[in-house]
């Protein structure tokens, strides 16, 4: 009976893959659609995970969907529209691809904030300004973080809330994972260069998860990472390509000028631009932050405003890896439940 039920999952990041595995295991016909060439999504860009420095590859390997007669994967499928006809959903991309399903699970994930939009922080202008994602790339390559001239950095500044909690960037929400990422990367920098001074510039430290605060404590105690409460206003470049930062040390109540060799911008998470396309032709809604809107944020977080469309992972709101996986299992459970209740009614 359930074999005939088709589920389309958009996005083969860890959320999509986890849900696909669970649902295929329950006997549903699952089509997993990925817009990029390969699966894994944003986690491919990460090296190590907070708070335990475990490898992101390990997670990717663990959630990777295995060959299964109930599961088919289509890559390079950039789904841009969902319509419902005769009780079935039709998913199509900009070319000729069409996928039909009885139920849709959105696992489209998130986009990274484009740091060039925060021009005063100099990303794309000054070479020694990098983003947290650039840092992950360096870390993953096994190389050490160096300045543009290949030198050992004496001082690294990590800037929190770039593109998050910032009306000027159009994102007034908190991306939630950047604070702990900043702490993690600060430790990673000091592990690369024990003599390097690392400063974190924050507005509020939002270390909400279990074991996060102990990582914060560890960063201070064992790695001499320093925390300055103050929002960076601008970066300028010195003659020697070093950077000069301007912020206020709000706890001292005085403006602060600091030279740094490298600045890491903790870029926030944004909703995908394609979300709006998917909302066309149906009653799917976005919330005020352009993420998919839940039917109820407490007890129906995975349920969208369009009956038959479910959601998993960071297309709902910014989430960490463990939350994403929990979210996708929860979504799989609700999908299964909805099929069963429909059959009872029949």
């Amino acid at each position: 009976m359930t074999e005939k039920r088709n589920i389309a999952i958009i996005g083969a990041g860890i959320a999509g893959q986890e849900a696909a595995s669970v649902l295929a295991g329950l006997g549903y016909k699952v089509t997993l659609l990925e817009k990029q060439e390969r699966m894994g999504g944003m986690l491919n860009k990460w090296s190590k995970l907070f708070p335990d420095f475990s490898s992101s590859q390990q997670i990717l390997d663990t959630v990777q969907v295995s060959a299964n007669k109930n599961l088919s994967v289509i890559c390079n499928a950039d789904i841009s529209s969902i319509t419902k006809e005769n009780g079935r959903f039709e998913l199509s991309d900009n070319s000729s691809l069409k996928v039909y399903a009885d139920l849709v699970l959105l696992a489209t994930g998130y986009n990274l904030f484009d740091a060039t939009l925060k021009e005063e922080y100099g990303y794309g202008v000054f070479e020694n300004v990098i983003t947290s994602v650039d840092f992950e790339k360096v870390h993953k390559s096994g190389k050490k973080l160096t300045t543009l001239l290949g030198k050992e950095p004496r001082r690294v500044a990590i800037i929190h809330c770039v593109g998050s909690r910032d009306a000027k960037s159009g994102n007034t929400y908190c991306s939630k994972v950047c604070c702990i990422t900043g702490v993690k990367q600060a430790i990673e920098v000091t592990r690369m260069w024990p003599d390097c001074e690392v400063f974190n510039f924050y507005m509020d430290l939002r270390l909400y998860g279990s074991k996060y605060d102990s990582l914060y404590l560890e960063a201070q105690k064992h790695h001499k990472v320093q925390f300055i409460r103050g929002r960076l206003s601008e970066i300028s470049e010195r003659q020697d390509k070093g950077l000069q930062l301007k912020a206020e040390d709000t706890l001292q109540g005085r403006p602060l000028r600091m030279n740094a060799d490298i600045v890491i911008l903790l870029v926030g998470m944004e909703a995908c631009e394609q979300n709006a396309d998917l909302c066309r032709n149906n009653t799917l809604d976005l919330d005020e932050n352009r993420f998919f809107k839940s039917k109820n944020i407490h007890y129906a977080r995975n349920i969208s405003t369009q009956p038959g469309i479910f959601m998993a992972g960071s297309c709902i709101c910014p989430m960490s890896v463990n939350e994403t996986l929990e979210s996708s299992r929860s979504a799989a459970f609700l999908v299964d439940k909805s099929f069963r209740s429909v059959q009872v009614e029949e």
């Binding site: 910032d166 000027k168 507005m203 103050g230 929002r231 301007k246 206020e248 005085r254 602060l256």
Partner: protein
């Protein structure tokens, strides 16, 4: 040995009960966005005047919200009104208007000779 530090019990504590809200109320009635400040300090860091002198626009806002308006009249005069603070504020606070309103209220209080 004319004076003794320990015999001068003038408290530094912020006395919330002696809240002088004459400027704060005036500003808040006219610029609601002032309510949302999180004291991130972006304004002070970017401030043109703050880079040249001890002027600290965030602290001015904070003093207002703490109801202490001593020395505010002198401090606010240092603002050059360039608007960089407004341009960097992550909470979209119209800081230029806040400054203008503070100046207006101070001018009013000074003319009433109550400041």
């Amino acid at each position: 040995m004319s004076q003794f530090d320990f015999l001068k019990p003038k408290s530094r504590q912020i006395e919330f009960e002696q809240f002088d809200d004459r400027i704060l109320t005036f500003v808040l009635e006219r610029e609601r966005s002032f309510l949302t400040c999180i004291s991130c300090g972006g304004c002070t860091a970017t401030c043109s005047a703050g880079n040249l002198t001890s002027f600290n626009i965030r602290k001015i806002g904070l003093s207002l919200r703490r109801g202490s308006i001593n020395d505010l009249s002198d401090e606010i005069q240092k603002c050059m009104f360039c608007g960089k603070c407004t341009l960097v504020c992550p909470r979209d606070i119209n800081i230029r208007n806040v400054v203008l309103l503070i100046k207006k209220r101070i001018a009013q209080l000074e003319s009433e000779k109550t400041l």
